[in-house]
Amino acid sequence: MTAVTHSLYMAVRHMRNLARQPLYIMFTLVQPVIWLVLFGQLFKNIVRLPGFGAPSYVDFLTPGVVVMTVLFGAGWSGMGIIHDLDLGVMDRFLVSPVSRVALIAGRLVQLGVVAVIQSVLIVVLGLIMGARFPGGILGVVVLIVCAVLLSLPVGALSCAIALLARKEETVIGASNFILLPLTFLSSVFMAESLMPAWMQTVVRFNPVQWAADAGRMALSAHPDWGSVLARAVLLAALSVVSAWLATRAFRAYQRSV
């Protein structure tokens, strides 16, 4: 119970601090727009490849950009931890009765809220650019849930790395090093059926793929809800494990101070 209320207090703090940075908010909103427009134009003709399996690229790309945007936002969440460590805010919380879980969960709640706002914006923009989603509102909701479920483990691991490394450069480096390949090793930009065989195997173990796949299925005319659910459950399980790891990282941090 304490963990839940403390998480909310922390989430409120993070949301409030975020709301005080209008320029930062603008960037987080404009960035996905650029992806959608840029990649939408660049890969426009990709759908003509035999076997791509989507009527228009913007139909295909929109859920991909939702997943990618949320993914990268989550990858940066460790930066907030570094900031708190540098200011001494983290040490102050660690000598108070605050729940350790809340120090991670509060950030994840904020991450989730931002992810929902970004996702809705991208979907609306996709529709304006001519995308059609037969799955309707329900499909969009499921897509967003999957995107949020992806942001949780990524955000938690980013926080864990921040606590262990305590350097901005490491968090930036690690998140680029891990997230870019994960994005390209998924169907965010390219249909799975057109990937080389080895890649199709690798892709099955990629959480980014689970989210993109589940979201796209939900947006289709006749979703296979069993597969959607299976992927969502995998993401949820990964979230729990990652959050536990992040909480453990506090011990490692406290051993070193």
């Binding site: 403390h6 207090y9 703090r13 409030r16 601090n17 005080r20 940075q21 708190d84 540098d86 200011l87 001494g88 805010v89 040490d91 102050r92 919380f93 660690l94 000598v95 108070s96 009765p97 605050v98 406290q254 051993r255 070193s256 101070v257």
Partner: protein, 346 residues
């Protein structure tokens, strides 16, 4: 027990150390080695009476902050005993956290939030709610002269204001024991004097036990009822500032020679005077101890003059904590401080 003690003294308006009460802080044989083999604490021991200000004094890298980190449950000792408010910090960290307030060396303020928001969140974490929380926050802002600035983002605060907010945040849950790790480092003289007044008031009027670390010897002298001089992870001297200074017989005479070439010769001349002892120095600076400093000065001057050595200036001072440190740690404080700072940054 200790809580009742604190309440008592709060009501009566005076706080005196009571020998019968259990110590508010008890540290015995604390050892802490960091990865890489740096031995930060090497059998550190001291204890603090409830309702008093206790100073941990020492140069950079002496182990003061490590001690505070262990006592406030942030870090763990390898061995030894540490108790705060009669609770073992290693066995019952959760209960210790409720009993203590902590102002770390780093500020600990969220710079993107306002003073009021910082205080409110801190209070919430300790379980304060509603009216009690609102009034507590408003009261502390008022008391630390931050009422006007309370709704401004703390990034805009001066160093002194931030430090005051830090202390206010350490007090929001009315702790029994307050830890202040180098509370005045980096403050201008005015803000420092302000902070000194506030710290004295906390102990005198509210009966809070305060453990203060500082590497300003003057600060410990001014504030602490008792202090421990820490060097290389051990307590090398403990007592009231007066006790420690009394241990040094007599006064210190400082001399500045006109020419550094005369240094060696003047030492020879001065060592011929029976009244002077512990003659030491560097370059043009010389210092020595004498039972009656003021009476010895003319003799020293006369002896030097007859040897043809010119003295630029000469002063006599009562023993200071600098001298205490020099005597117990076997090296000058400033020298140790610089060496410690260097070790920290490399």
């Amino acid at each position: 027990m200790a809580h009742a003690e604190a309440l008592n003294s709060f009501e009566s308006g005076v706080a005196r150390p009571r020998q019968s009460a259990p110590p508010a802080i008890e540290v015995r044989d604390l050892v802490k080695t960091y990865r890489g083999g740096v031995r930060a604490l090497d059998g550190l021991s001291f204890s603090v009476h409830a309702g008093t200000i206790f100073g941990l004094v020492g140069p950079n890298g002496a182990g003061k902050s490590t001690t505070v980190k262990i006592l406030t449950t942030l870090s763990r000792a390898d061995s030894g005993i540490a108790k705060v408010a009669s609770l073992d910090v290693m066995q019952e960290p959760a209960r210790v956290r409720l009993a203590i307030g902590c102002v770390g060396q780093k500020s600990g303020i969220d710079s993107a939030s306002t003073g009021r928001e910082n205080l409110t969140l801190q209070g919430r974490v300790y379980g304060l709610r509603g009216k009690e929380l609102r009034e507590g926050v408003a009261g502390l802002l008022e008391r630390f002269g931050l009422a006007q600035a309370g709704d401004r983002v703390t990034r805009t605060y001066s160093g002194g204001m931030q430090r005051k907010l830090d202390v206010a945040m350490g007090l929001i849950h009315r702790p029994q024991v307050l830890f202040l790790d180098e509370p005045t480092t980096g403050l201008d003289p005015e803000a420092r004097a302000d902070m000194w007044r506030e710290i004295t008031r906390l102990a005198n009027e509210e009966g809070i036990t305060i453990l203060l670390t500082t590497h300003y010897l003057e600060e410990a002298d001014r504030l602490a009822q008792r202090l421990a001089v820490v060097d290389r992870g051990r307590v090398v001297a403990e007592g009231t500032p007066e006790d420690l200074k009394r241990g040094l017989r007599g006064d210190t005479i400082h001399m500045e020679l006109a020419q550094s070439e005369d240094a060696e010769r003047s030492r020879g001349v001065l060592s011929g005077l029976a009244e002077l002892r512990e003659i030491a120095g560097e370059g043009r600076q010389l210092h020595a101890r004498a039972d009656r400093g003021a009476e010895t000065v003319p003799q020293a001057l006369a002896a030097l003059e007859s040897a043809g050595i010119k003295v630029a200036s000469i002063t006599v001072s009562r023993p200071s904590l600098d001298d205490v440190y020099l005597r117990h740690a076997g090296r000058a404080f400033r020298e140790a401080d610089e060496a410690g700072a260097e070790r920290k940054t490399t």
